[in-house]
Symmetry: C2
Subunit: 320 residues, 2 copies
């Protein structure tokens, strides 16, 4: 069976996998995403991991490579200020990889890759209208409507993390105020916990952590153990997420919204209150039309599979 390499450039780690046309991950590697401006070293480290992976798998032929990266330019095939890579100019990553391997290489936004993975191999296989959120350091989003990925007029669509919530004064990394991802993301959950510690008098083990040492995992563990402050933070996050999904439901009437990424690992802690608030907040016309699911590809494999699929089903991707 045809195989290809999928690469998912994340904020912290870069994941690499050998994927077959049924969406099986045959082998995987991981490395730290460079936080320096030495992009050549970072690429060499990726090449070396791929060489190691292929050697270990008996040097399989690959049909090509698909790369998912946040904030990339899909049309030009370039990255700039992507994840933690501090790059001063646009880097033609697609050309660099296709020339190195003498195989077709593809570049896609990580959140679009995740939506494509969910469509081809996951819970959205029979859906033409759905939205996938990646809840990580930031909030990413991939939108399928009429069976097609929504890319925008020049490939810049799907920045739903940057729709604005008025009455929200949190400063966003984009330089504006009130962006959705300042609430709906692992970082947003942490901000909410610190706001709640300032506003309420609830005792909580979370008060023993510094802002720098606090993670979504620590908050989820506290909530799972019944900590009221942690539960309140999930409740607040769910309320904002439900309102966003209610808005999406009114605009597009998607069949489902999928949650993936690290924060989605919190499972029912986030899903249950989000479903409850959606039911309360949604426009009567579309009540019950949009359901909320966790990604069926685990928290983090959707993007890897979606990226690889570009090199596995090039023609099909064009149809999508």
């Amino acid at each position: 069976m045809k195989t290809a390499i999928g690469i998912d450039i994340g904020g912290t780690n870069t994941k690499i996998a050998l994927v077959d046309a049924k969406g099986n991950i045959l082998a995987r590697k991981q490395l730290t995403t460079a936080s320096s401006n030495n992009v050549d070293e970072y690429f060499q480290a990726i090449f070396s991991k791929i060489a190691q992976l292929r050697r270990e798998e008996g040097d399989p032929a690959i049909s090509g490579l698909g790369i998912g990266a946040p904030g990339c330019n899909e049309q030009d095939g370039t990255i700039e200020r992507t994840a933690n890579l501090i790059i001063k100019e646009q880097v033609p990553i697609r050309t660099i990889f296709s020339e190195y391997y003498q195989r077709p290489a593809y570049l896609i936004k990580d959140s679009n890759a995740a939506a494509l993975g969910e469509k081809l191999f996951g819970g959205a296989r029979r859906m033409d209208n759905f939205v996938l959120f990646t809840l990580g350091t930031g909030l990413g989003c991939g939108i399928f409507l009429n069976g097609q990925l929504v890319r925008g007029n020049s490939g810049l669509a799907s920045e739903m993390g940057h729709i604005t919530i008025s009455g929200n004064d949190r400063i966003c990394g984009c330089g504006r105020k009130g962006c959705l991802e300042t609430y709906i993301s692992a970082t947003g959950l942490r901000r909410t916990v610190f706001q709640l510690m300032a506003e309420r008098n609830l005792d909580s083990p979370l008060r023993r952590y510094s802002y720098s040492s606090m993670t979504a995992k620590i908050i989820a563990d506290a909530a799972a153990a019944g900590d009221a402050l942690a539960l309140a933070a999930f409740d607040c996050t769910a309320k904002v997420l439900a309102r966003t999904i209610a808005d999406l439901s009114a605009c597009f009437e998607p069949e489902a919204v999928f949650l993936s990424g690290g924060l989605a690992l919190s499972g029912d802690l986030l899903l249950q209150p989000t479903r409850k608030y959606l039911e309360e907040q949604v426009l009567y016309l579309v009540k019950g039309k949009t359901r909320i699911f966790p990604s069926s590809l685990g928290a983090n494999d959707a993007a890897l599979l979606g990226a690889a699929s570009l090199a596995l089903f090039n023609q099909k991707e064009k149809i999508l």
Copy 2:
């Protein structure tokens, strides 16, 4: 040339036109949209106007009829609680018209019809990604992405008038609080004027009008004459509209947003401040990507043309 009948069921008036395949309106009629529950009388009045129109035009052959109506069910071909028609059950309007005329009849949401009209005959002819707002009694919306109309999973999409703005306590006709159309519509503009009269001490000729007698036209005329209160109301409306367009731009990166409907007749009074605030508020990634235009089909003909087009280009509409 092929001709068809377009019907646009509005809150106040129902418009009827004989349209050719180039988008020319060859003749038109108008009647009051019934505000009773006697839907049969209303339909008879439409039939009679169409008969009169055809007689006056030398009884042209028609290929069919396209009906645009707010809040209709496109898939079932039914209306219920549409515009001012107070109907207790679902009325199969598509079947009623196709049986009466023995010709194909089509039903489409008025705002989708307007977007389709703009795409086929108006300013969006060469665009694959755009949004059209109808600014009337309420706020309607039609969305084209990847060259296709976004209809949602069961034809209920495009209710963008009911996305919610938090920090806004205005009660909406849908029973919820804070819907966008409580600001962005002719009714919303009037609400804003009354809020500003309560909040500010600006003298204004608008203070001589009752709520019931106030119209968007009166407010636009006052603003055009330099009245500070009326200008402040347009400024407030523009700020909310610009934020909505900034959000749309981040989500879909449409090439353009078109404004149609009665409030769009206010022209630069709304357009200029909206463009200014969009420039200030939009995410840097999509800066300058989405432009704002008035509908090129006048304030109110886009829906009529789009509805008629369904009976003129049936195959083509399926492609769209």
